[in-house]
Amino acid sequence: MARVVVDVMLKPEILDPQGQAVQRALPRLGFEGIADVRQGKRFELEVEGPVDEAALARIHQAAETFLANTVIEDFVVRVEEGQ
């Protein structure tokens, strides 16, 4: 089965307090030099059958209408190679 990954991130202009909290914690743990952190979501979809253009178009539609809220989030769909 092929895996398609959908990465969903808050749009750059949207404040991400969760990412900020992570960023603030890093130096306390000794991880210096991280200027910014943005937290997002990753969906791994195990696809039955071939991942052709039609299948990718369906997944793109699912991402746009459901997995991401495009008012506040951007998404990227990609096929994971080497399965």
């Binding site: 808050l10 307090p17 909290a21 809220n69 008012v71």
Partner: protein, 226 residues
């Protein structure tokens, strides 16, 4: 004529019983609706209650938006049926695109539970006609994802058209843009807000006041006069 006001129960709804009770106290006939219903049982208006529908697992309101009952509600709301979304219900309305914008995690990342002062900025909607323009009311607020946001163009449009219905007073509890607590669609039949009017309808519970009753008496007047 008695107005029939439906309240939807999704898996994970918390305030559906309180909303049904508020409808009854105001003098309308409360009708329990189930998330799997495709038929709205001849209700004249619908309340989407607070809670964590479908666990809010994807985003608040994102999964409920595709439930069978919502398909019918979205269609009817576009045709003019009054819909009130409270807290999680507001989140469902933005996810349904019946209202613009989106809801995000509170900017301080804490759950908020407090009595919140609001200003009624628009008393011409289906759900706010029993308030005075500019009236200050006290309503409980309890949520994790209450930070209303939209792009600047949308906000400017909402402000210009008087579609900001409620604004937070005495401090912004969640980082929402322009202190916005609630908005309406262009027609004024769909209203969403984060605070909970159904918890402020009896002196014994909630704020100890009845500032929330006006939502439910407003809709009755609207429906009976329709």
């Amino acid at each position: 004529m008695t107005a029939r006001v439906g309240v939807v129960t999704f898996p994970g709804s918390l305030d559906d019983r309180d909303a049904l009770r508020a409808v009854k106290l105001a003098g309308a006939e409360p009708v329990a609706l189930w998330h799997r219903d495709t038929d709205l049982h001849q209700v004249d208006a619908v309340v989407l209650p607070g809670g964590f529908s479908y666990g809010d697992y994807l985003r608040a309101g994102a999964i409920s938006r595709f439930s069978p009952v919502m398909e019918t509600i979205i269609e009817q709301a576009k045709a003019g049926m009054p819909v009130l979304g409270i807290c999680n219900g507001f989140q469902v309305l933005t996810e349904s695109h019946l209202l613009p914008g989106a809801m995000l995690r509170n900017n301080h990342l804490h759950f908020v539970c407090k009595d919140q002062k609001l200003r009624v900025e628009n008393n011409t909607t289906a759900w706010t006609s029993d308030y005075a323009q500019g009236q200050e009311i006290m309503i409980p607020l309890k949520n994790m994802d209450g930070r209303f946001t939209a792009d600047r163009r949308t906000i400017d449009e909402l402000e210009a058209e008087g579609r900001v219905v409620f604004r937070y007073l005495d401090g912004n509890p969640n980082g929402s843009i322009d202190d916005i607590a609630g908005i309406t669609n262009a027609a004024g039949n769909v209203v969403g807000l984060m605070p909970h009017p159904e918890h402020a309808v009896e002196p014994l519970i909630g704020t100890g006041g009845t500032d929330g009753t006006g939502f439910f008496t407003s809709i009755i007047k609207r429906l009976v006069n329709a």
